[in-house]
């Protein structure tokens, strides 16, 4: 179970204090929780705060009751938090196999590594030896990023827009991937997404906008809130 208590993240933007996250409190212990909301609302920032990549300026983070606010990225990863980036990182020289092996945290056989790749619909034999460099397409990188999370197999997995750049055919498989992951590991899967079909499978949808939780509940409850958001642009209206 993950608990965030009064998380705020303030930055100094051109001499002005800006709240990227403002007093966010939430608890995650369901199977699938989806976070959605407008671009720039603070979703990725929230995920980075959970993974330890960003240190919040205020608030507390608990994992299964243990305060992990002061823990490093590495410590949190070892305690069971996995995070698939919105923009996967490229590495010159490291291969798909290297990264899957590092993710698994132990020496794995080629066929094990291949199994993880097949789960995300990549023909393993073709990919296993490839470098994670600019020659991989955006969608391929996204899938490898997901395969790494499967290989880690931790109790909390966070996916930041996993469907972005993934074609429609694979999209259906993606949902199966999440279901299979949960079956195997239990724990919770937190998915940041703009996709209605992902919101549909979530046990709870959380709407984050302007660095705050705007609404949460099941999809039907929060959808009107979402649509209302899309219709106006607060930055523009503020200026007018």
């Amino acid at each position: 179970m993950l608990e965030l208590k009064n998380i705020s993240y303030q930055v100094d933007a051109e001499g002005q204090q800006r709240d990227i996250l403002h007093d966010v409190s939430l608890t995650i212990d369901e199977r699938f929780v989806a976070i959605t909301g407008p671009n720039g609302g603070g979703k990725s920032t929230l995920a980075k705060v959970i993974a330890g990549i960003i240190t919040p300026t205020a608030g507390q983070i608990l994992l299964d009751g243990e305060d992990i606010t002061g823990c490093s990225i590495t410590e949190r990863a070892q305690k069971g938090i996995s995070f698939a980036f919105q923009q996967p990182v490229r590495f010159k020289g490291l291969t798909v196999r290297d990264l899957i092996t590092l993710a698994a945290g132990r020496d794995i056989t080629v066929s094990e590594a291949c199994a993880y790749l097949s789960e995300v619909g990549l023909c393993a034999r073709e990919y296993i030896g490839r470098e994670i460099n600019a020659s991989l397409s955006g969608g391929e990188l996204k899938r490898i990023e997901i395969a790494m999370i499967i290989a880690r197999g931790t109790k909390l997995s966070i996916f930041d827009e996993p469907e972005a750049g993934i074609d429609l055919w694979s999209f259906n498989n993606l949902i199966q991937v999440f279901e299979k992951m949960h079956e195997k590991l239990g724990g919770s899967i937190l998915i940041i997404s703009h996709q209605e079909r992902i919101l549909n499978i979530a046990d709870r949808v959380i709407v984050v906008a302007d660095g705050q939780i705007r609404a949460q509940g099941n999809r039907e409850d929060v959808l009107p809130e979402l649509l209302a958001d899309g219709a106006t642009c607060s930055v523009l209206t503020d200026k007018l």
């Binding site: 990225i73 990863a77 938090i81 996995s82 990182v89 590495f91 490291l94 990264l99 590092l102």
Partner: protein, 305 residues
Amino acid sequence: MDKIEKDLLEQVADLHEVPQGAYNIRANGQMAGRNTTENIDIVTKTDKPGIDIIIKPGTKRESVHIPVLLSQSGLQEMVYNDFFVGEGADITIVAGCGIHNGGDEESRHDGIHAFYLAPGARLRYVEKHYGSGDGNGRRVMNPTTIIELGEGAYMEMETTQIKGVTSTIRDTRATLAAGATLIVREKIMTHGQQLAETNFTVDLNGEDASTHLVSRSVAKDESRQVFRSVINGNARCTAHSECDAIIMDEASVSAIPEVTANHLDASLIHEAAIGKIAGEQLTKLMTLGLTEKEAEEQIVSGFLK
């Protein structure tokens, strides 16, 4: 051969025992072993230190190992090795130099290797440089490589220096006739106060000659590296040089390209990228449970793989 020499041999030539095929082992300035084959002859030079390696036309799937080992502190030598690769031959040459310096004097090996490839010859040349020993004596290697590729000849050169060489100036000069191809892959890691300087000069003289130079390097601590490449396109030809370096700590790396097209259809490209390890790469590996130090090691070793 003693333990130190065996270690050096393993590091520079991946050899545990004497190699298969033709070889010439030079240890502390002396010949420590030689084997020739029906197609490959090795002859000691009479006018200066060094050997001639003569490969008969059409020789296929054979290899030549010519490791050089220095374990006696303070030894300094200059060696000339000439390789004549006959028409249509297709072979591998593995050279390498290992210096173990347990003393306080400078040990130095300066090797001048000249490769003459006849038309249509193919060569894979692998060269490794390695230093060890905890003495204060410097370990210096200055390899000069001269390459002359005949028509349609093809040469691939892999040169690696990963550890322990205090100072190195590596000069490579190549001329390419029509249809010849030269591919060079260089990997260098420097640490401490080490200095590594690489100078490539390639003259593309014949129609459709092509070259690809790839240098990947990591500079740690206070080490310094300089990568210079001079490419002259004197005919319709293509050239691509890439210098890709990671700097760490207080190290410094310079990439100095010079590309000159003396022909309208010469197409020459140089790319250089120097920078520290990207923060997001470290972050990604840390989210997989690695410490920052482990992440750094993985990134560096992958980069130089």
